[in-house]
Symmetry: C2
């Protein structure tokens, strides 16, 4: 058996998220496994660095899978790109050590969230929208509270009995990029829907519906003092994974 | 009766073009007329500056329609945006003189075509792809031949018996914009699918499958010396209209 790794880029807007689902629901894992299975004539089970939600995109997703196939890797990637929709591309196929695991071997992941203050028809697939002006300084203050180790259970969709819900945030900032406001966050790991909840809190802060202290109380004391919503998925990109 | 004009921005990737079609086919004109009709309780017939093909986008499309409604314009636009999908936004509603016609009153239109040399999953909805490197200098040379007045019938989907097929090209150039190559063309008018045919010729030139002289022979002498294909619609934007 060989362990094969490749990079995947996708526009998630037509998919019900990464994770395989029964009943003909279109997911990225399901689509990639089905097409790889056709090419290799094997049942393929993919592991991914991050399981993105419905509507979330990936600039760089990393996956791996085991196969007995002797097919040349560039030919495999070419065949896969021929069968996949144009909104999904695979790149850089390589044979990796048998103990490489796209999820558990990853050291850091980076997500970015793109946000507009006014709706745009041309950009709505790839940006969230606050529908109103935002106080970026207050959002940056809130982002500053996230650095370091925190328990993010309350800012995720994880079940309450999940064991380890502590993440180490290494980089975290808002900045203007042309006419969009971009949130960049790098951590050793992320919980389910965590970035969308974090962005949701900071949009509430930017709109004056919450203050950075509300986020501090939630993080440090588990006290929820404002309405908590995840931000829309379409502004979110899995941006980078490092091993 | 009042004549009302507004601007429309759209992501054309989920629509079968601008023009209304029978049988529940999703088009921009059909969707806008249906929702305006619901709001105003009237049959609405929209006129547009440019009838974009299936998959073509608009940064700025201009439309007008007649109505007997006394509804406040900002309320009408708000209601319309509430009913339309996020991929279509209307803006700047205004009452205009009764003789204003979005198509016949327009003095100039501008289209832009965005092109990448390598496929991108995240950008495929909004860019064409040459799947290989392009000789931009040769493409620029070909673009230079388009300036001024020419009969573009052979570079369009118009029926052969269409009366006036002469267009006056006022601006026309390729340029790099970050990692995309962008074609910008401004003219008094355009024929059906004309920009896609022009871009198709220039991509053939960029790939070395045709030379600028082939375009000159087609324009000046009606001689077709190379395989002619329209470029993919998804890279094309109706960019500006002036009155």
């Amino acid at each position: 058996m060989k362990n094969i790794r490749f990079d995947v880029e996708y526009d998630g807007s037509d998919f019900c998220g990464w994770q395989r689902q029964p009943g003909g629901i279109q997911t990225l894992q399901g689509e990639l496994e089905a097409q790889l299975g056709r090419i290799l004539q094997e049942n393929i089970s993919l592991t991914a660095a991050g399981r993105t939600d419905k509507g979330v995109h990936a600039r760089l997703q990393v996956v791996n899978f085991m196969t007995g196939s002797a097919m040349e890797l560039s030919k495999m990637a070419y065949a896969l790109n021929s069968l996949l929709p144009d909104t999904v591309r695979v790149r850089n196929p390589q044979v990796v050590p048998l103990d490489f695991h796209a999820r558990f071997s990853a050291k850091e992941r980076e997500y970015r969230y793109f946000l507009l203050e006014e709706p745009s028809a041309l950009r709505c697939r790839f940006t969230g929208c606050s529908k109103g002006s935002l106080d970026i300084d207050a959002m940056q203050d809130a982002a500053g509270l996230l650095f370091g180790e925190h328990d993010f259970l309350l800012l995720s969709k994880e079940p309450a009995d999940k064991k380890n819900t502590v993440c180490l945030i290494k980089e975290c900032e808002w900045r203007w990029e042309n006419d969009a406001i971009v949130f960049r966050i790098r951590a050793n790991r992320f919980l389910r829907s965590m970035v969308r909840y974090l962005v949701g809190v900071m949009i509430a802060v930017g709109k004056g519906r919450a203050v950075p202290e509300d986020l501090r109380m939630l993080l440090d004391e588990g006290l929820l003092t404002f309405p908590l919503f995840p931000a829309e998925p379409n502004g979110l990109f899995l941006w980078d994974v490092s091993y």
